[in-house]
């Protein structure tokens, strides 16, 4: 069984991170400033940790070519191997991975064939990341997929393709370690949630969302009448107009809130065209988390 472990790892933003990952999907919530990029780099063996140990199946990826060969990775800032065209650069990367597949099949699966003939110097940073993502997801037998914010590239690579590939990998015993800077991306990636907060690791128990107010974004052709009705419901703490035909409805329990909105709209014969949870911003979460007690989290040295 594949296993990825961090033992007392301090490097760049990361402070004494000790954790282990088993096969399946693991989403690390946090921004690049929190150290998600560094976490992915260390897991993929792109850099050695300044202190502590990172091991994939008992071997440090930075010092073992065979271990790195079993890792598909996507970093925050990508650079393809030096070559004139994307096709030549990918051929070099595939050769380094001892992968006999063609560049066309790798790019074709991700819908990026149009980039094959482009000069690497003409690629944008996002296009380079998209190609690196295609390369990582095309890995035939990975032990680990370490991806920095893969869903930030959905405008270049189809979301279904990314999610299906990650799900298939997780189901076949691969450790999928993906970071997300937004809750929406984290919930779409699924799996076990962890978080990094200014370099401090919060495992799944501590990464649980703090008890913030639940908010629903309701789209209706008659927002005024629905707001008037909902303002009298005891489960609902507040209703605000979000512009056009949208209302933001606040409460303490998401399920009860949704039930109240739907039943009251039905009682007044008000049509609801869309209803979705409004996720809090990461900053709001960080602030809420900071106010929570963190007995096991190490403190950042002065």
């Amino acid at each position: 069984m594949n296993a990825l472990s961090f033992e007392g790892v301090s490097h760049a933003e990361l402070v004494s991170v000790s954790t282990a990952f088993t096969p399946g999907t693991h989403v690390v919530l946090g921004s690049e400033r929190d150290g998600t990029h560094t976490l992915v780099q260390l897991a993929a063996g792109v850099a050695p940790p300044s202190a502590g140990h990172v091991q994939l199946n008992g071997v440090a990826p930075f010092t073992s070519a065979a271990t790195r060969r079993a890792v598909g990775s996507l970093c925050a800032n990508e650079a393809l191997p030096h070559a004139r065209t994307v096709s030549a650069a990918l051929a070099l990367a595939l050769r380094a991975r001892a992968d006999a597949r063609s560049v066309t099949s790798v790019l074709g699966a991700a819908g990026l064939t149009r980039l094959a003939a482009r000069r690497t110097s003409e690629l944008t940073a996002r296009e380079t990341r998209a190609i690196a993502l295609a390369l990582a997801l095309s890995h035939p037998k990975p032990h680990l997929l370490a991806l920095h914010e893969p869903l930030s590239l959905v405008d270049l690579v189809r979301e279904e393709f990314i999610l299906e590939a990650l799900s298939a990998a997780a189901d076949s015993g691969v450790i999928v370690l993906a970071s997300a800077s937004g809750l929406e991306d984290a919930s779409r990636l699924g799996g076990e949630a962890h978080a990094l907060d200014r370099g401090i690791w919060l495992d799944s128990a501590h990464a649980r969302l703090p008890a913030l107010r639940a908010t629903l974004r309701v789209q209706t052709p008659d927002p005024r009448r629905l707001a008037a009705r909902l303002s009298e419901v005891p489960d609902i703490q507040g209703v605000s107009w979000a512009g056009a035909s949208e209302l933001l409805v606040h409460g303490s329990n998401l399920e009860r809130l949704a039930h109240s909105v739907v039943s009251n709209a039905r009682a007044e014969a008000i049509q609801i065209s869309a209803l979705r949870q409004e996720l809090p911003a990461l900053d709001a979460l960080s602030a809420a988390r900071a106010s929570m007690a963190r007995p096991t989290a190490p403190t950042r040295p002065e």
């Binding site: 070519a65 990775s73 393809l80 030096h82």
Partner: protein, 230 residues
């Protein structure tokens, strides 16, 4: 074994890819142009010794070390030698083998540049002696000298955060290599000078100078390989 071969081949491809572009050939053409101009001037001043002077100072004393430094800088991508292969190592290439591939690309390129400079010098400043003899002896020195300079700068690139050791190796070669004491012995310049008929280091013969150059190259390769993680 296959992994190592694959790594060397990937490293070589990476090294040659980094040398592509206009600036590298342009630098060589400019250097050859300068050698040509100096040979014309040298032949006017002293036709008999023009070739020896040209090979000793402008070609092997100045152009070769500087061009070898630039090639090494370019092949390493402006990084330390071991970090210069990061873009392929992260996909699974053996870093050590890829570094050897980079060194090989650098050595082949620098040796060819040295041969081009030498041919320019020999054909333009050749005096009364046998052209074939001049060509044979100077091309041998160019091939070995060029390759050893590449390996010397490659090993030095393992020092410093961004391979700053290269710069110090160039300075050391210019300053220490110019002497004939024990301090000059590790520098390629001192042995190349001996092979060209100049003052020997520690009174060693020309035959031993070949071996000394070879030894410097081997030590540099071994240092590069042992100081690079897999």
């Amino acid at each position: 074994m296959n992994d190592a071969r694959g790594g060397i081949s990937v490293g070589m491809k990476l090294g040659f890819a980094r040398l592509r572009g206009v600036s590298a050939p342009l630098s060589v053409v400019l250097a050859c142009g300068a050698v040509f101009a100096l040979s014309v001037l040298g032949r006017r001043a002293e036709p008999a010794g023009a070739l020896d002077d040209l090979l000793a100072v402008p070609v092997f004393g100045l152009a070769l070390p500087v061009l070898a430094y630039l090639v090494s800088e370019r092949v390493c991508g402006g990084q330390r030698l071991d970090r210069g292969v990061d873009s392929v190592a992260r996909h699974g290439a053996d870093r050590r083998a890829a570094v050897l591939g980079l060194l090989l690309a650098s050595a082949v390129s620098t040796a060819l540049i040295a041969v081009l400079l030498t041919l320019t010098a020999v054909f333009t400043a050749h005096g009364a002696g046998s052209l074939l003899f001049d060509l044979r002896s100077s091309i041998g020195i160019a091939l070995l000298g060029g390759a050893v300079y590449a390996l010397w700068f490659g090993a030095a690139s393992l020092l410093g955060k961004r391979g700053g050791g290269r710069k110090w190796a160039l300075i050391a070669d210019f300053i220490l290599g110019a002497g004939n004491s024990a301090l000059a012995a590790p520098c390629p310049r001192s042995h190349v000078r001996n092979l060209l008929g100049g003052e020997p280091v520690l009174e060693i013969s020309q035959a031993h100078a070949w071996l000394a150059l070879l030894a410097i190259g081997v030590v540099c390769v071994m240092l590069s390989a042992t100081r690079t993680p897999e």
